[in-house]
Symmetry: C2
Subunit: 367 residues, 2 copies
């Protein structure tokens, strides 16, 4: 089964198209430098980059092919893009291909028009960052969540990628200002943070840095919508963006209740799955709060439960990930996994996510 | 359409069965007092109450028929119980009946065997708490979330209900120790906290107080399972029980991000609906954390993201429901309601909840 995969694992070098790319990249770099010079001299900022036209985007570069990068690769392939992957790990090609094989059935259920099997001819692996930028139209960076590592990597990408190609970072909580700091063309650096697993969960957080061109953020949002994603746009940079802050707030209390034995691990998870999570699959916290008040809406919820909320907030716990707490968390997750492997649980999750996506995204209120 | 409803709004008094009830109640009260005396004298605690056999529970008393009590009434009727309702509000009967009419189609989708239309002959309204206890097998209390009000009400119920009938409180965050404090038979007071809307969301939190008989908690859990609910059992009393603590933690950060303009109201809600909520409809925070680490599980998630979580926790916001914050919340919910009425949104939510319940609850991992 993997023979057609393995046939495409070697980096495919095409000297002529690479030369074209470098050439067009050089021309564009000159234009970009001129624009930045103009900005520096106080010229009109409307002399923006011209980013690639969305309908001409054909090739996506994936830098970093851990669980997030592999999942992006599968999604981009499913949407008809050529994908070139760079990751220094020796198992990159095999692991990425294995991931795509496993992800493909779910992608086919969501996107009926895609190929019956993964289009291996559109997937290539590059031996260096520079080669991964050949002919690229957009770059998706997915390195581990470490600010120095990510900044260095994005600086390196910026050095070799044509200056008008948008660099999307999958950063889960580090803002783009820190990532773009050393770039030649910081204007094209945008956070486009997906949620695990990125090939299925629609949400993408778009975050701009202090030196990001608003046009790059618009481009990123439009590109994500073209991929079938649901982008939201942060109004400011904050640690953890938005969704990981919401998640972290809830996780802190879940860990607190676990460690303080308010409920068993299984019951903590069931409180979400059979309670809170069902509502939140349909609507966010604000709409949930609105409907909790019945006909009186959020005002009535505040009247009824505002005092209770204030008292709960006072009582919420804090926690630190000491060695003991980490051990409790690992034991708790082993407990609720109930002897089934992580691979089994991921397969189960993805099958049900597909069904939920087909269900919950189908209609809007009154439409 | 409402004619058959209105025909049953008057309290239906049946003197002979009422007398039987009082009689059997008196006998049981004596047994219960003897048991308590035994406990006080240090006799074996295994001389527990004998609560009604579950398969003989026929009549449920609803005390308090706001949005929670009405929804319980609909669920109990759908499961074949006789329901007697007491609420001092003059609109109680009409509002409860209207609610049941609206809820019935969703209940029929979830429980195929129930009557095509609400069984009005099994729904009665009592003019007093004492009369609401006629022939009752179990009491569900749903007063507003105010400790003095609820304690007084439960004390009053306890005075007139046969001593071995379990009193379930829908308390959303007040523990049973405070509620049972003045009862003759505190042993039978158990919190059974549902989630809005109770006739659809499976989760029920079972909480015992310092004087609750463990047998009453087991009875409550078994009774809830018989109703198709998913009970979880708290290991200790804490303010907000478990699920409202998790919800409050997330709401605090959502309100903080709203007020500090991290994202628009719509984007805050979309972060949940198109991201976090889809996963949480399938699995709780602990399993989500486990799978986020890929093959390495929770240990790997801790290695990769533990430091990030610690930094996010340090940065999370606090908020107080000042007049200004309340106004911002009300404006935000009006914004995302997009001109559609709360009734429309509730109809939309319930239709989609039914579909999600049929989908997400269908299978477990590997089963």
């Amino acid at each position: 089964m993997l023979a057609p995969v393995l046939a495409h694992l070697k980096p495919q070098l095409d000297a002529s198209s690479y030369a074209d790319s470098v050439l067009s990249g050089t021309v564009l770099d000159m234009a970009c430098r001129a624009w930045r010079l103009g900005v520096a001299r106080g010229m009109n900022r409307s002399m923006s980059f011209t980013f690639p036209s969305l309908d001409r985007v054909r090739r996506v570069t994936i830098v970093g092919a851990g669980s997030v990068g592999r999942s992006w690769a599968a999604l981009y392939l499913a949407h008809g893009y050529d994908v070139i992957v760079f990751d220094p790990a020796p198992e990159c090609a095999q692991a990425t291909s294995d991931f795509i094989v496993n992800a493909w059935p779910a992608l086919r259920q969501l996107h009926a028009s895609i190929d019956p099997s993964p289009p291996w001819s559109r997937l290539t692996f590059a031996p260096s960052i520079a080669q991964a930028m050949r002919d690229t139209d957009v770059i998706q960076e997915n390195a581990p969540e470490n600010v120095e590592l990510k900044r260095q990597l994005i600086t390196e990408i910026d050095q070799v990628a044509p200056g008008n190609r948008v660099i999307l970072s999958s950063s889960g909580g580090i803002g783009p200002s820190a990532l773009q700091a050393d770039c030649r063309f910081p204007e094209r650096v945008v956070v486009a943070h997906p949620f695990n697993p990125p090939h299925l969960i629609p949400l993408v957080e778009i975050v701009v840095g202090s030196r990001t061109d608003p046009a790059a953020a618009r481009w990123a949002g439009d590109f994500m919508r073209q991929l079938g994603k649901r982008p939201i746009v942060l109004l400011r940079e904050v640690s953890g963006h938005l969704a990981n802050r919401l998640q972290a707030a809830l996780m802190r209390e879940a860990f607190h209740c676990l460690v303080n034995e308010v409920a068993s691990a299984q019951d903590i998870d069931d409180a979400m799955r059979y309670g809170l999570g069902l509502r939140w699959a349909l609507m966010g916290p604000l709409m949930t709060f609105h409907l909790a008040g019945g006909a009186g809406g959020a005002q009535h919820t505040l009247d009824l439960a505002g005092e209770a909320y204030e008292s709960w907030w006072t009582d919420l716990g804090t926690i630190h990930l000491t060695a003991d707490v980490r051990a409790r968390i690992v034991a708790a997750t082993a407990d609720i996994a109930a002897g089934r492997s992580i691979a089994d649980w991921i397969t189960w999750r993805d099958e049900h996510l597909v069904a939920l996506l087909r269900q919950s995204g189908a209609t809007e209120c009154g439409v």
